[in-house]
């Protein structure tokens, strides 16, 4: 039998179950999370909360102990992040550094970079932003115009990046730049530079989104100097590194748990009403999807742990997961008679509002639906 996509399921162990309980205890001690932060909580930036997690050893937890990581498995990390996301905890500050920048440095970075950056990330003191999209390069990432020119001892960066979450708070951005002229192979000549966001020549302009938040930004580079020791990986080999990064970025439980608390709260309310087979049906359909998504995402976590880079599988999880997230408020509307209220202090009315207003971004960030499906098609040998 041909098997081009691998989703071998995994069973969790006692070790992971114990850890799950520890996270729940931690969250119970932490107290109530404000209603405004619950939906899409991985875009909510709270550096204090990140430092509390760091004290528990829950940032960089899969990284080797030589870089002060906790040397835990990807499945253990999965348990921690899924518990935090399901509760709506504000994990946005360290999210990118923990999820993809750290793993990128572990895989492609120099020893010096690992020694310098990873312990700071683990302590919850160093946050990273993603520097990929540009005003004229969204889905067509290889068309980026930001350049890095060779100078003595380093590179000079000019151009701009956009849709960069929390650039105003983050310390560094792994920035994809063109370092060689465009050739027949348009994926060649790109490099990833670790840009210190406090460098001279950087302007950060927040962009308000339709949900009223200001977490993403446009960043302008005007002759920004980046020293040689801040080149991440190989010069001109940035494309394959970015693709590897995306396996980490696309497969996690944040791709289907952004609106999870809405489901939990809705069930609480529905349980107070008369039993209804229509309610059972809708809830059952949603839970069935959620169960499968968890199994698929766990499977990808297990493959990451084995050192594989399941890029195609990650695209599958993200496309199915964000479809679920977007469907969730729509499906709940058919069985619950509560109108969305943006200003509500708490409850389903508030979460409906947040999850609907934020939902368009779910299938855009980290690669649009069409791009993901294109990647899957390529993996199947159709392109």
């Amino acid at each position: 039998m041909m098997k081009k996509l691998n989703f071998e399921p995994v069973l969790s162990t006692d070790k992971e179950n114990l850890l799950r309980q520890q996270v729940r205890d931690f969250l119970a001690d932490y107290g109530t999370i404000p209603a405004s932060e619950i939906i899409d909580s991985w875009t909510v930036c709270d550096p204090d909360f990140s430092r509390l997690l760091a004290k528990q050893g829950w940032i960089g937890m899969t990284w080797p102990s030589e870089y002060t990581g906790a040397n835990r498995s990807y499945l253990e990390r999965y348990v921690v992040i899924e518990e935090l996301l399901a509760a709506g905890a504000p994990v946005g500050a360290h999210w990118v550094a923990d999820r993809q920048s750290g793993p990128l440095l572990l895989r492609f970075g120099t020893e010096q970079q690992r020694q310098f950056f990873l312990p700071q990330i683990v302590r919850g003191e160093c946050f990273f932003a993603i520097g990929m999209s540009e005003p004229n390069s969204g889905s067509d990432l290889a068309s980026i115009k930001t350049t890095a020119k060779r100078v003595d001892g380093g590179w000079v960066v000019n151009g701009s990046k956009i849709w960069t979450s929390w650039a105003q708070v983050c310390h560094y951005m792994i920035t994809l730049c063109r370092t060689a002229p465009v050739s027949d192979n348009r994926h060649a000549g790109l490099s990833q530079l670790i840009v210190d966001l406090s460098s001279e020549g950087i302007t950060i302009r927040p962009i308000k989104n339709m949900a009223g938040e200001e977490h993403f930004n446009e960043i302008f580079f005007d002759d920004v100097f980046v020293p040689d020791e801040h080149v991440a990986g190989k010069v001109n080999d940035g494309w394959s590194q970015v693709m590897a990064e995306l396996a980490f970025e696309r497969s996690g439980p944040e791709r289907f748990l952004s609106s999870y608390q809405l489901l939990e709260e809705s069930i609480k309310i529905l349980r107070q009403g008369e039993p209804s087979s229509q309610v059972d049906s809708v809830i059952g359909q949603l839970i069935a999807k959620l169960m499968v998504l968890r199994q698929m995402s766990l499977s990808v976590a297990s493959q990451l742990h084995e050192g594989k880079l399941p890029v195609n599988e990650a695209s599958v999880v993200k496309d199915l997961g964000t479809s679920f997230e977007q469907e969730l408020p729509e499906a709940l509307r058919s069985i619950i008679s509560i109108e969305a209220r943006s200003g509500a202090e708490q409850g389903v009315a508030r979460m409906l509002s947040d999850s609907i207003l934020k939902s368009p971004s779910f299938s855009l960030r980290g690669g649009t639906r069409e791009i993901l499906r294109g990647i899957i098609a390529r993996g199947l040998g159709l392109r």
């Binding site: 069935a288 499968v292 098609a377």
Partner: protein, 342 residues
Amino acid sequence: MKDLTRLIEESAAKLFESLGQSDNIELMESGTFPLACWEAFKEDGWLQTMLSEDQGGAGLGLAGGCVLMRLAGYYSVPLPVVESLLGIYLLAESGELPNDNLYVPALLNTADEKTIYIQGVPWARHADGVVVVFAGEEGCQLQLVKRTDYQLFEGSNMAGEPRDDISFDSALLMNARSIVSLSIKTVESWLALARAAQMSGALQSVFERTVEYANERSQFGRQIGKFQAVQQQIAVQAELTSAAMCATDAAMLHIETEQEWECIVGAKIAAGEAAGVSAKTAHAVHAAIGFTHEYPLQLSTRRLWSWRDEYGHEAYWAKQLGAYFMQSGTTNLWSNLTQQTA
């Protein structure tokens, strides 16, 4: 699990591929039992796959059986692989000594009437007996009703597989055996899992054919798989096929855990959802040739359309699953869900 799967697939693939040849399937659809195929299947000992070694079996249990059923689904094997394995397994659970007859399972909702009717019993016309399972005071009750003791009204599903209605005298159930340790709910879920396993094989076959065809067929001077509109559809098919296969594998992995039932239900729903989309996309990509009797795509798609309804369709199981979680007291959904992999 991985080793078990490889072992079973490697040993059975060749035989199953030959059993799934279209002349065998034609024979079955014309109403004749493919006896030579059945003998070959039995000769290799596959009927005893799920039985314990004490019972003269291979000791591979329900999970091992599911691997074989998936393979049968992949090759559209025109035999009661699912039904014969489950029939003999249930009989053995009740303490009856197994033999190599064809026994097929059937669930009964109520045993109160004088004459019992059961609709859509798979392969009943060819079986030596029907293993009738119904609820008992504790656990379930099981009675083997022999072929000579039931009346038969022939029917078939969309794939031409026998799905017969039977009737018999309820007095036959008077001395049914009790299986205290096994609830009717569990038996029902095992049947659903078996069908889901068979479906995941058929889904994989349809998916492979579709990718292969999209890479072969040319229009407008290039392979149709090079068109984005086609790629996007096949990608969705790949996603749902993957979800169904992962859910079924996960259910097999969770057999005999506390989460067995939920995982099985999730698997049957995922397989059912994938079946519709997969068949639709596969036929769209294959266009007219896929609509012909001669082209083998229909062997799998007709089976998928039938199997997604059998042993509970998506809507049935979604309602069951929803009711289960809605009624689990004050426990929040998340603690319930995360036990799933405990």
